[in-house]
Structures are given as C-alpha cells and as structure tokens.
C-alpha cells in the first residue's frame, strides 16, 4: 500500500508500482482507488500496489465498483518515484492525473491535486514537457 518509495531487493518482484484508475460514471471525472477501496479525485490519495496479488485484488474491487455503476473502465497504471514522490510513468496518465498541460486552470491541477512533480514543472513554463 501507499508509502514512501523504497529501494527494491534484487529478489523482489519486478512489478512496477501500480495504481488503479477509472472515470466516474456520473460525470466522467478521473478517479483513483484509495486505501479503503473507494475512489478519490486526488492522485495523492490513490493506493499504491507493489505486487501482483494486491493489484489483482484491487482491480477485482474496481470491477465490482464498475458493476455497481460507480465508475467506468477501471485499469491499472504504472507509477514510479521521482524526487521522492509517486508520479504516473506515462505522459498520458500524468495528464489524466493533472489536467490539460495548456490550461493550468482546468482539471485537478487547478485544485492542487496534480502529482507533485507535475505541479512543480507546471510553474516554469506553460509548454512544459512533463
């Protein structure tokens, strides 16, 4: 589960840290599965899974949530540690977790919910390469 990124033992599973995401059915807003199995709009509150078993169980919970008409299309995203903070590995997911890079007043970044490194980069220039 969520915690500070740590050095991996060489024998430990090679699984990339993961988080479960989806879009909320009622309004389409991007959400992340939290430690209680619920959903949060804030990437920072997303639960981090470091092994296949936990990730699989989380995905199963998410699929049940989809069946219960709470979210649409849940899937796991890869996350990694940069400068001591978890961030989505793929640019697509970084943008989903933050908002459009060309409108910092829109999306999660407008409410201080963007992954930390993205927020830091965004203050430099408007056309930042994430």
């Amino acid at each position: 589960m969520r915690g500070r990124p740590k050095q991996r033992d060489q024998n430990e599973s090679k699984l990339m840290d993961a988080m479960i995401t989806a879009n909320r059915l009622s309004d389409g807003i991007v959400v992340f599965q939290d430690a209680d199995g619920g959903w949060s709009e804030d990437f920072h509150r997303g639960a981090v899974f470091s092994d296949e078993g936990a990730k699989g169980a989380a995905l199963a919970r998410a699929e049940q949530s989809e069946a219960d008409c709470e979210v649409v299309g849940p899937y796991a995203i890869e996350i990694e540690s940069r400068n001591g903070h978890f961030v989505p590995k793929a640019l697509r997911e970084a943008i989903r977790a933050s908002g459009p890079t060309i409108r910092r007043d829109l999306g999660k970044q407008a409410h201080g919910q963007a992954p930390s490194i993205v927020q830091h980069a965004s203050v430099e220039i408007s056309h930042v390469s994430l």
């Binding site: 879009n23 009622s26 807003i29 943008i95 056309h127």
Partner: protein, 557 residues
C-alpha cells in the same frame, strides 16, 4: 437559414427524451457501459481523458446569434466556460457531466440544434464551404444540398450501422474550401455546358492511418439525382465495405481494393437498378429548401469605403487584418470577415463563452444575424458592410478575436491531442502554440505568405496533417512524444497527401524543424508570389530533407 418544421422539431425532441431515458437506465445500472456506448455515441457523447466530451453538430457550419449565445450559455452553465470548434464544423464541450447531458441536448433543441450523428458508424454531420452563400466566386450555395443530405441521412434505417463512419462535404465554388477530396463523398457543385446545376462526385477520400485523396466517380451528376446517387454509393459500401477490420472499414479501403473502375461500375449499376421513388429531388422541394438559405436583403453600397481607407493608412494592424481576414462578398460593398480563433500562443479553435457572446452580438449588429464556422477552426461573419469593418474589427479586437492571420503560418489547425483526447499519442496544441509564437502574425508571417500547418496528435488525423502544406503527426516512441513532419499536402482542389520528410523530431526540437522547413522555402522560392505549396511542388523534397537532416536542426533519431 434553415428553420425546423414540425417534423424536425418532433424528431429532435423525441431523441432528447429517448436519450434522457437511456442515461437514466445507465445510471441505474439497467444498461451496462457496453450497451450504453452506442447510444451515447449516436448522441455525440464520448468519454475522453479527463471527462465526458459532447460534440454538438453545427450543420454545414451555419449558425445564427441565438444559437451561438445558447452555445455560450451551455458552456457557462454545464461546462467550464468555453468550447472548442473542430475541423468538422462541430463544437465540443470538454467537461460535461453525464447526468447533465439530456438537459444540454434539450437546451440545444430549443434553438434547433442537436448532437445527433456526430459520432458512430453512420453518416456524420455534413460539412460545407464556410464562405457558402457569400463567396464572390460561388457557383451555387452548397448549404441547401447539405441540408437535403442531412434530412435524408438522419436516423436513416439502412445507413445507421455502416461498416464505419461516413463523411460528406459539399463545396459551392471553384476553389475548394471544404476539403471535399478528403471525405468519403465529396460533392463539388458545377454547371454543365447547358448551364444546368449538378455535382462532380468524388468518393473514397479520407485521412487517418491510410490517407487517400478522393477519386472522381462522376464528372456531372444532375441536381435531381443527388440523393439517389449517394444512396447507391452508400448501398455498395454498406454491402461490400469490410467489417472484419475496423482499420480497413472505410470506403477508401474498399475503393483501393476494388479499384476506381470496379467501384464506379458497382455504384452506377446500383444507381440504375435501384428504385428512385422518393429519392429523386423534385424541383419544388429543392426550391423550398433553397428559400431557407436566401441571402438577406443587402442594399447596394459603394465598392470602396473612405472610412476603411483612412483607417488602413494609419493602423498597420488593421491593414494586416483587412489583407488576411477579409474576403470579397458577392454583393458589392460587403465583405466576409474571419474572426480568428488562433490568437498568437492560444489554443486553436477554443472560444470562451464571453467571446461567443461577443461574436453573436456582432452577427446581430453587422452580419444579418448570420455566422459560419470553418473547418479551419475560425468563425466567419459573412455579411459585413465595408463601411462597418472598422467597428467590427474594434469589437473583435476587444475580445481577442482580431488576430490578422487567416491563411498564414499561425492559422494552424490542431486537434485536441493528448491534452484532452483518449486516443491521442502526443500533444498537438502546445506545438501549435509554440509555432504560432515563433512566427507570429506580423512582418515575418506576412513575408512567409499563405501557409497551412496542420497538426494531429495521433494517426487518426483529426488535425488533417496529411493535407497540411506542412503536416505534423504526434506519435509516442518508447514513452516519449515524437513528431513526424510531412510536406506538400493540400486539401484544396489540387488535393494531395503530404510526403514524410524522414525520421521524427522530439517535442523540444519539432518547432525548430518547422522553422528550418520555412526558411528553406524562403531561400528556394522564386519570389514572394510563389507560395510554399508551389515551391514544394516545383523543387520537391530534396532541399527540405537536406536542410532538416544534414544541418543544425537535426533529427533526434
């Protein structure tokens, strides 16, 4: 412009009620997402990166001020205060909630608008030349034919489950402003030797991952046969088009595999064999629809305005605006004005609710209450008296819509790209912003002259990059954005697909690469009168390739 009759109003209203029920059943769990998806798509509702996206049809790009004000009101009330005008003359809202969409559709219906068939495997919103009804060189207004096609294709029982989407465009003048050869069916209005109106018919154009320029299947199709012939094309496509592979399902692939003669024979055979009852257009019906699009009464005016001349003499920015954003009108003393949605460094095609209101007011005050949306993502005031031009310009300037760059290097088409789109592989808007900042709208851009840059954030090519004089395609390679450049594409009557320069460029270097291309053109051209496309067609790829890959700009690969 066209006004709904009782049938139209009842049909659109019934669709709103139907969708309200579908949304309720989805939210309650009665419908799964898989079951609901085709319903929401047929009503223009997508699920994108950040939220739902609603694509509203603006049939053949024509609006009045009441409709634009409604679009502004919806942006404020249900979205985030802005909308995005697209390359298909639609408007997209990027943040609507699912639960609000039935109300949004009801609001649209109240001003005779809808989002029907803006998605799905059906005949999409029919597009037209954005100078329709006003261009000085127009043969005939394309909008009555587009409206006839809209009525015929809306909820057409036979063509609602096509192998893939199907796009039709109609152009009314000798200069193709509607990119008809990039459509599944492109209709060019022509007159035959006797002066009778008809259409040259192109089939199988399309962009996406396998781009083709449309092929001419009929030199002259009589006006009355418009629907019967389109029906024959659709029937052949519906039967023969591939359904086994989504990426090979468009009619362009059928044409490619069958060959032009094969497809033409099949269409002509179907046209001859089919029963035209109810499809042959009676003269009275054509006249009835045409009457809706009759030009507003425009009293004759002087061809030259002293007021405009005086302002041009003392205001260089205004003079630039007149040069690039003002086109001749068919009535003397009037002009067609392009309000640029491409402010330098801005998001191509985005308009705030306040800007929409301002343009609606201008249409009401100065343009006989009419507006057009161009596939190049700008707004058009089609009937402006020349004497009113300074006043219109000042009001556009007050809301940031007077950038004097229509048709120039900074008038860039760009799809939403990875900033919004779930299909995108790279961002396109920031590339457009940086190019626009690099070249601006002043002396440098004017020295470069007419140049169309088009940017897509994935191979689906919503940004029409294949037909850009300079096309940019954003891709993802090993987790990084990379941009492929094509040169020599064109979406006009000399349509061509751009050629790839070579290896792609990184997000950081692609703007330098575009600058290298432009500088190479400047050194290669015979003079300012030779536009980029002409130079490219004369000298070919070699000097551009050499400049891009052998000199400092350098590819990253």
């Amino acid at each position: 412009m066209y006004r709904y009759d009782e049938f139209d109003a009842a049909f659109v209203s019934a669709r709103v009620d139907q969708f309200r029920g579908q949304v309720a059943r989805r939210v309650s769990g009665e419908l799964t997402e898989e079951q609901f998806r085709p319903h929401r798509l047929m009503n223009g509702l997508y699920l994108q990166l950040h939220a739902y996206m609603l694509r509203v049809a603006i049939p053949y790009g024509t609006l009045n001020s009441q409709q634009l004000r409604k679009l502004a009101e919806i942006a404020r009330k249900y979205d985030r205060g802005y909308g995005h005008f697209t390359t298909r003359q639609n408007l997209q809202y990027n943040w609507p909630a699912l639960k609000d969409t039935p109300d949004i559709l009801a609001e649209l219906a109240s001003v005779e608008m809808h989002a029907i068939q803006t998605s799905g495997n059906c005949i999409r919103n029919v597009t037209a030349d954005h100078f329709a009804g006003v261009a000085a060189d127009e043969i005939a207004d394309p909008r009555p034919y587009a409206e006839i096609l809209r009525q015929w294709s809306s909820q057409h029982p036979e063509f609602s489950f096509l192998p893939r989407k199907f796009k039709i465009a109609v152009n009314g003048g000798p200069h193709d402003r509607a990119a008809i050869q990039a459509h599944d069916i492109g209709l060019q209005i022509v007159r035959d030797a006797s002066g009778a109106l008809g259409f040259t018919v192109y089939v199988g154009g399309g962009l996406g991952r396998t781009p083709f320029v449309g092929k001419k299947v009929r030199e002259f199709l009589p006006e009355r046969d418009l629907l019967a012939y389109c029906d024959a094309i659709l029937r052949v496509y519906n039967l023969e088009g591939r359904r086994d592979n989504k990426f090979k399902a468009r009619i362009k692939i059928l044409l490619h595999e069958t060959g032009l003669e094969g497809l033409r024979s099949a269409v002509e055979a179907e046209f001859v064999a089919s029963d035209h009852t109810g499809l042959e257009l009676p003269d009275a019906e054509i006249a009835r629809i045409k009457a809706y699009f009759a030009a507003p009464p425009l009293p004759a005016r002087e061809p030259v305005s002293a007021r405009v001349q005086r302002r041009r003499g003392k205001d260089a920015k205004f003079a630039d605006f007149v040069q690039s954003n003002v086109a001749p009108h068919k009535v003397t003393g009037y002009v067609v004005v392009t309000a640029s949605l491409k402010p330098i460094g801005g998001v191509p095609g985005d308009a705030s609710a306040d800007q929409m209101d301002a343009v609606a007011d201008l249409a009401e005050d100065y343009s006989s209450d009419e507006l057009r949306v161009s596939h190049e993502q700008n707004l058009i005031l089609p009937h402006v008296a020349l004497d009113d031009l300074p006043a219109v310009y000042d009001r556009l300037a007050s809301v940031g819509l007077s950038t004097p760059n229509a048709g120039l290097v900074s008038d860039i088409i760009a799809c939403p790209g990875l900033d919004y789109c779930a299909l995108a592989t790279a961002r396109s808007i920031p590339i457009a912003q940086r190019i626009s900042e690099r070249f601006g709208d002043g002396v440098r851009a004017r020295n470069v002259g007419p140049l169309k840059i088009k940017i897509s954030g994935c191979i689906n090519a919503c940004g029409h990059h294949h037909v850009g004089h300079i096309g940019i395609l954003g891709l993802e390679r090993a987790g990084e954005e990379t941009y492929q450049i094509t040169l020599g594409g064109s979406g006009d009557e000399t349509a061509s697909i751009g050629q790839i320069t070579g290896p792609g460029f990184s997000y950081e270097k692609v703007v330098d690469a575009v600058e290298t291309v432009v500088e190479t053109y400047m050194t290669q051209r015979t003079g300012p009168e030779e536009a980029f496309l002409q130079t490219f067609r004369r000298v070919g790829m070699a000097p551009f390739k050499e400049a891009l890959y052998d000199r400092s700009a350098g590819s990253d690969i």
